[in-house]
């Protein structure tokens, strides 16, 4: 494409199908204690 550069493809829709395992870190366990940014967490599902 000439006018658009896609930096990252859609992936949230795909994650819905097999998501929700609950193994990911709950946010306050890292640096943040009041200003959660869930998006910087990692998926911990070994089987996805």
């Amino acid at each position: 494409m000439k006018h658009v550069k896609t930096i990252s493809n859609a992936n949230l829709k795909k994650s819905a199908a097999h998501g929700g395992c609950g193994e990911c870190q709950t946010s306050c366990q890292s640096a943040c204690k009041t200003s959660c940014t869930v998006a910087n967490q990692k998926c911990e599902n070994l089987n996805k």
């Binding site: 550069k5 990252s8 859609a10 992936n11 193994e23 200003s35 869930v38």
Partner: protein, 456 residues
């Protein structure tokens, strides 16, 4: 829904409901002001007329067709059809993380501390090993099939009661094999009592350690004072340096708080980076709006500028081979948590609970002392399922304004405690916090765009 913004020379377009990120040219950026969702086969006349004075019609049409292509492939103007997953996001989930208040006491007197002077409004006390073990039993029992369990040693100041920390770790480890669990420990500390023995133990057992320091000496020492009233910077800085280096500059954070007194907080972050700390976090103070040091709406323009300033400085350093991390700018556009997690948010009151020295359970450390949120006790294994359900059912669609906010899947609805303290309701996000969060996300995504774009 899309969100577009211009920052550091990049025209960035976020497709909110898919998570896609695009970097576009100026023409396309402005075209999006005139195109709701490109359904028509050719570019609408209105758009051609609006932009025709500056851009060639053929180029406008070409850009329009590219937008159509993006929409057709599901990376632009995608719908929010995640309400179908609310049930999965709102389940009363197993408890899998605890914040243990190892001490309701502290050897510093930081002006802004949520815990008052360490005791959180109650009496000064230390958690006994017996209560600590009961807390481990509590989470093992209530975690059901969850394998990963997180234990955060917190307070007050946990190093004031370090033998209990060690005892809890030992006990938890002894249960791992039998119970099929994997414990991950974190400790947060003001650093005053750090010594070689504690550092060795921390390095052996803690997957993360949070070291509290605000930045420049004069900034740190204004708020983070000893009981005698002096500053803490000179005491803690050498210890923090030693600990961070001993962990090879990874798996820790130096974590500061900025207030109205240092709205130029990028200088504090860069000060820490200049000293060699590669994992930094500096976060806005959360406090009563009446406090002198509270950040107010008037301060937002300055705060926004500061986040931008910091982002640009970090890009420059990255290019010079002096890269460092800033927690709030960390973002993974490809592999972050699933959308179910993003609907849920932080997990407080549901998957993540706090435990006081007496064994009382609360939704998180910020709710400790708010009696109406006391959820039970690790001593008798009780848990208030009504409160748990209340927190479990708090998600992006129940939190006011979140469903229509472009930042929803990055932010996940913010901090329940923050909402409760400012609005009296865990489902009413605090607007000031939202504004800062959105700015941070814009900066974080821009930095990623810059990194992945190669040359500008």
């Amino acid at each position: 829904m899309i969100h577009k913004y211009f920052l550091n020379g990049y025209y960035i377009v976020l497709d909110v409901n898919s998570g896609a990120v695009h970097s576009v040219d100026e023409l396309t950026y402005r075209l999006l002001d005139h195109v709701e969702s490109p359904t028509g086969e050719t570019c609408p006349d209105g758009a051609l007329a609006a932009l025709g004075g500056e851009f060639a019609a053929a180029d406008i049409e070409e850009a329009y067709q590219e937008l159509r292509e993006l929409k057709n492939e599901g990376t632009l103007f995608t719908e929010d059809d995640y309400r179908a997953f609310i049930d999965r996001a709102s389940t009363v989930a197993p408890v899998k993380a605890l914040c243990l208040h190892i001490a309701h006491d502290c050897n510093l007197r930081c002006g802004y501390c949520f815990a008052g002077t360490g005791e959180i409004g109650g009496k000064r006390s230390l958690m006994s090993l017996e209560v600590g073990k009961k807390a481990i039993d509590y989470v093992v029992e209530k975690s059901e099939n969850r394998r990963n369990i997180e234990i955060d040693f917190f307070g007050g100041e946990p190093l004031m009661n370090f033998e209990v920390v060690k005892g809890i770790v030992k006990y938890a480890r002894s249960l791992e094999k039998e119970k099929g669990k994997r414990f991950r420990f974190t400790v947060t500390t003001n650093g005053v009592l750090l010594d070689d023995d504690k550092m060795d133990f921390i390095n052996k057992e803690m997957s993360n350690v949070v070291l509290s320091i605000d930045g420049r000496k004069e900034v740190n020492d204004r708020m983070r004072r000893t009981v005698a009233g002096g500053g803490s910077y000179d005491i803690i800085m050498p210890k923090f340096k030693k600990l961070a280096d001993s962990r090879n500059q990874t798996d820790y954070y130096v974590r500061g708080t900025f207030t109205k007194y240092n709205l130029d907080f990028s200088k504090d972050v860069l000060h820490l980076a200049d000293l060699g700390f590669e994992q930094t976090s500096v976060e806005p103070v959360v406090t009563d709006p009446k406090d002198d040091y509270a950040i107010s709406p008037d301060d937002l323009p300055a705060v926004f500028k500061e986040y931008e300033r910091l982002a640009l400085a970090m890009i420059e350093r990255r290019e010079q081979g002096r890269r460092f991390n800033f927690f709030h700018f960390m973002i993974d556009l490809t592999q972050g948590p699933c959308v179910i997690k993003r609907l849920r948010g932080c997990g407080s009151g549901n998957e993540y609970l706090a435990v006081t020295p007496d064994g009382d359970v609360y939704p998180c450390h910020q709710f400790v002392g708010h009696e109406e949120y006391r959820m039970g006790s690790v001593l008798d294994g009780s848990i208030d399922m009504e409160i748990k359900k209340r927190f479990a059912s708090s998600n992006l669609y129940t939190r006011k304004g979140c469903a229509d906010c472009w930042a929803k899947f990055y932010c996940s609805g913010g901090c329940c405690a923050n909402s409760y303290k400012y609005a009296g309701d865990i489902d009413t996000p605090y607007a000031l916090a939202c504004e800062m969060e959105k700015k941070r996300i814009e900066c974080a995504v821009m930095m990623k765009v810059d990194e992945l774009s190669g040359e500008k």
